[in-house]
């Protein structure tokens, strides 16, 4: 076996250009797969992070009934105190209690359905960071009475400007229709169509006064300090707050799951296609290499090397080629990912549409460390499979005929 390995190793370097092509295919295959996975991962992460950061947060707490039926009566018992206690937990970065009503927003020109959030601007700002997304006006900084912040798109549909008056109509705690006039203090533009088109933010004190809620809150949104502690925090909260519904972003936003499924299911197809392309490239090159070496192989057989050894020799050659190509490919992929992870891929030319779909315009490819190994293993196995047929072809040789062919 040691001799076989020596022969194979020498064979590899005897015909340098051919070996380099096979090594090159392996390197390119590994690099392409790493790049593809990194790019798609970056796409998914930027989408999900955008949604978590500005829209749904990591964890939301509701009274269980409120989820099924957004009735304004289903407040979290002693919600404000709960929010204050949660803010002391070191695993939680920020807490925002909100009261919620669904109703109608009307300007003199048009009306539409909205979800109305009563918020405490200081807390809300630290959770959803909406103050950084204000395009016009300010985030509850002006001295207007009854200020309201809505999405720019909603403002455009309603044909209202800063300081314009809008009327919110919703049901109060006794299920009477109540209305309040608000002054437009700011417009925001987020990555979430829902917020841009159909959400209004007002001060909690205003909403609760009109709705007769006193200190009642319907929702507590939590932004976790470290995403890895999310699961343990979730179980802790669930056992501590048994009467409440504690949900993570995965449960709150099933469309994120759909998006993940869509991208994920497609990714496997892409990987499959690239692997098939790779295996074909390798089969073809190796096959030609074997056919080119008819005389040589015929000679080896004629002087007594048996078929099994010939077969093994070609397979071992491929293993050597993979062992050279694999690390080079991984290194190249690693460098590319490292560089792009810092520089990012600028997609700002498409940013309008990107935002609509919840992406930020600079994309940072990302890949988990284990993926490198999986990819390399996959490609090397592919290369070995690709060598089997040529090796089989080589074994089929008839030594005398082979020696005669030019």
């Amino acid at each position: 076996m040691k001799m076989m390995a020596t022969i194979a190793w020498r064979n590899v370097w005897r015909s340098r250009s051919r070996s380099l092509v096979v090594i090159g295919s392996i390197v390119v295959g590994i690099w392409a797969l790493i790049f593809m996975l990194g790019f798609m991962n970056g796409f998914m992460i930027s989408y999900i992070n955008g949604a978590i950061k500005h829209e749904i947060s990591h964890i939301q707490i509701h009274k269980a009934e409120f989820k099924k039926d957004n009735n304004i009566g289903f407040v979290i018992p002693d919600g404000m105190n709960l929010a204050r206690t949660l803010a002391l937990d070191s695993r939680i970065q920020a807490v925002s209690p909100r009261s919620i009503a669904s109703g109608m927003i009307s300007s003199p020109r048009k009306s539409g359905g909205v979800k109305i959030y009563g918020i405490i601007p200081e807390s809300e700002r630290s959770v959803t960071r909406h103050d950084s997304l204000i395009t016009e006006g300010s985030y509850f900084k002006s001295n207007l009475k009854n200020p309201i912040v809505i999405g720019k798109e909603l403002a455009n549909t309603l044909k209202v400007k800063l300081n314009s008056k809008v009327v919110l109509t919703f049901q109060d705690r006794e299920n009477n229709l109540v209305a309040g006039a608000f002054r437009l203090a700011g417009m925001l533009e987020t990555t979430a169509p829902m917020i841009n088109k159909a959400t209004a933010y007002i001060r909690m004190e205003d909403l609760n006064r009109i709705a007769g809620l006193q200190e009642g809150v319907h929702e507590i949104a939590l932004f976790v300090e470290n995403p890895e502690s999310e699961t343990t925090l979730l179980t802790d909260l669930r056992s501590a707050q048994s009467g409440l519904l504690v949900e993570s972003w995965r449960e709150i936003a099933p469309e994120l799951e759909l998006f993940l499924s869509m991208t994920d299911s497609f990714l496997w197809v892409l990987i499959g296609i690239i692997m098939i392309a790779l295996i074909f490239g390798i089969i073809n090159t190796m096959l030609m290499a074997v056919l080119e070496r008819y005389r040589e192989l015929g000679m080896l057989m004629a002087i007594g090397m048996n078929k099994w050894r010939i077969f093994m020799m070609i397979v071992i050659e491929t293993i050597f080629l993979s062992l050279v190509g694999g690390p080079v490919g991984i290194l190249l992929g690693l460098l590319t990912m490292y560089w792009l992870g810092i520089e990012g891929i600028d997609l700002s030319a498409y940013s309008e549409g990107l935002r609509e779909y919840g992406y930020s315009s600079i994309l940072y490819p990302y890949i988990e460390n284990s993926t490198y190994i999986h990819v390399a293993a996959g490609v090397i196995i592919t290369a070995l499979l690709g060598a089997l047929y040529p090796a089989y072809k080589a074994v089929q040789l008839n030594p005398t005929e082979a020696l005669h062919t030019v």
């Binding site: 092509v21 090159g24 295919s25 392409a32 593809m36 957004n70 229709l177 892409l270």
Partner: protein, 407 residues
């Protein structure tokens, strides 16, 4: 003579030729499949969001789209519907009167979207009757309504209960009415299921005080391919100073952009595939050159001019590539055609997420001709570019060493 020699050279070593042809043909097939799946997923996306709600084309009063209020409704000329429906490729013209209202039952109230529609025509667009999960369909002259099951759950209503709608009607008149629920609807899009009220058109017109008015006439076409032509034809038929005729691309710019973004990643994936394919093809070309070093050396030493030899090899490659690309092209057509008719189902684990949104859990394939032709051309040119290697080799070659090495 060049051509004849090239042709004979190709078939002199059948095995080598076949390997090369297979590698190129395979490249065409693989890249066609990839592109077809990408375009197929876009077609599915468009179909899901356009075909099931807005329709591919809509006719409105001029200015309605920018300001979608009831006051911008229009009284359709008597023959508008029949005119549009008589156009070739039009399946149906679907009249709609859409606006917003507060829906309430008992002590609960929620914002709802009221769509006044002609049940018979609507069947061509949203297929509203197939979406009924409970209860029965409504007739055009019914005064009962169909509501989204999400809305019904919220209001805690059942079939047969009476819904109260309050809104502002045409030119500010007060609109209020009571409607019995005929059936519940379930749509793929949660936004629809949670807020939609489908009302027969005459009842809706009466409710909003908008007798004889429509906000939109949506056009359903046989196939998305005819949209542009039909839009042109409608533009010729209607008075463009009073009406606007909009295609889905104008109505749903986000969808177009969403596709464009996805297309960026799609193109990047395709380029990666080309890279891998290119390497495979390059490998075969390189081996071919190596195998024939001896032959090239002999040709040069018996006095063939280098450029002649290059031309000979180039014509060989052109022929080979042409045959291969054509083979790949011809093989990919039935393959993709088959899968576009019998799509592959997604792995089980993804089904729930897709079904929740009413999207078919399949890998969709597009059979647009552009899929095949574009990939065939790309691979063909790739082969031509890669032929630079053997040509360069010949240019630099020393006949004596070549003959020795090639032996």
């Amino acid at each position: 003579m060049q051509i004849k020699m090239a042709w004979r050279n190709i078939w002199r070593n059948k095995r080598r030729t076949i390997i090369t042809i297979v590698s190129i043909a395979f490249a065409v097939i693989l890249s066609s499949i990839m592109r077809s799946m990408q375009l197929g997923s876009y077609e599915r996306m468009i179909d899901n969001s356009v075909r099931f709600y807005t329709g591919y084309i809509q006719v409105h009063k001029l200015g309605y789209w920018d300001e979608q209020v009831l006051d911008n409704a229009f009284a359709p000329p008597r023959d508008l519907q029949s005119q549009i429906e008589s156009l070739e490729g039009v399946e149906a013209a679907v009249p709609r009167l859409e606006s917003f209202a507060l829906a309430s039952y008992g002590k609960r109230t929620k914002g709802a979207m009221v769509i006044g529609m002609d049940p018979e025509k609507e069947a061509h667009l949203t297929g509203v009757e197939q979406k009924i999960t409970e209860g029965s369909r409504v007739g055009l002259n019914d005064s009962r309504v169909l509501i989204g099951s999400g809305l019904a759950d919220y209001l805690q209503m059942k079939v047969g209960d009476t819904l109260v709608l309050i809104s502002q009607g045409y030119h500010g008149v007060n609109a209020a009415g009571k409607y019995a629920i005929a059936g519940l609807l379930e749509f793929g899009l949660p936004q629809l299921t949670n807020q939609v009220v489908f009302m027969p058109l005459p009842a809706a017109q009466y409710f909003y005080g908008a007798e004889g008015l429509l906000t939109a006439m949506a056009v359903v076409t046989d196939t998305p391919k005819k949209v542009a032509a039909i839009q042109e034809a409608i533009l010729r038929e209607v008075d463009t100073t009073a009406y606007e005729v909009m295609g889905w691309k104008t109505m749903m710019p986000e969808l177009i952009q969403g596709i464009e973004i996805d297309n960026i990643s799609g193109i990047i994936m395709l380029l990666l595939l080309y890279l891998v394919i290119g390497f495979g093809m390059f490998g075969t070309f390189l081996m071919m050159t190596k195998e024939r070093l001896y032959e090239f050396g002999v040709m040069l030493s018996v006095g063939m001019h280098r450029s002649k030899l290059q031309l000979l090899i180039f014509s060989e490659i052109v022929m080979l590539a042409a045959i291969a690309v054509l083979t790949g092209f011809l093989l990919s057509i039935p393959l993709i055609e088959y899968y576009s008719r019998n799509p592959i189902a997604l792995p089980e684990e993804y089904n729930t997420a897709f079904e929740k949104f009413g999207i078919e859990p399949i890998y969709a394939f597009s059979n647009e001709p552009i899929v095949f032709t574009s990939q065939a051309w790309v691979v063909f040119f790739m082969a031509l570019v890669l032929s630079a290697y053997p040509l360069y080799k010949i240019w630099k070659m020393d006949p004596v060493t070549a003959m020795r090495e090639g032996r």
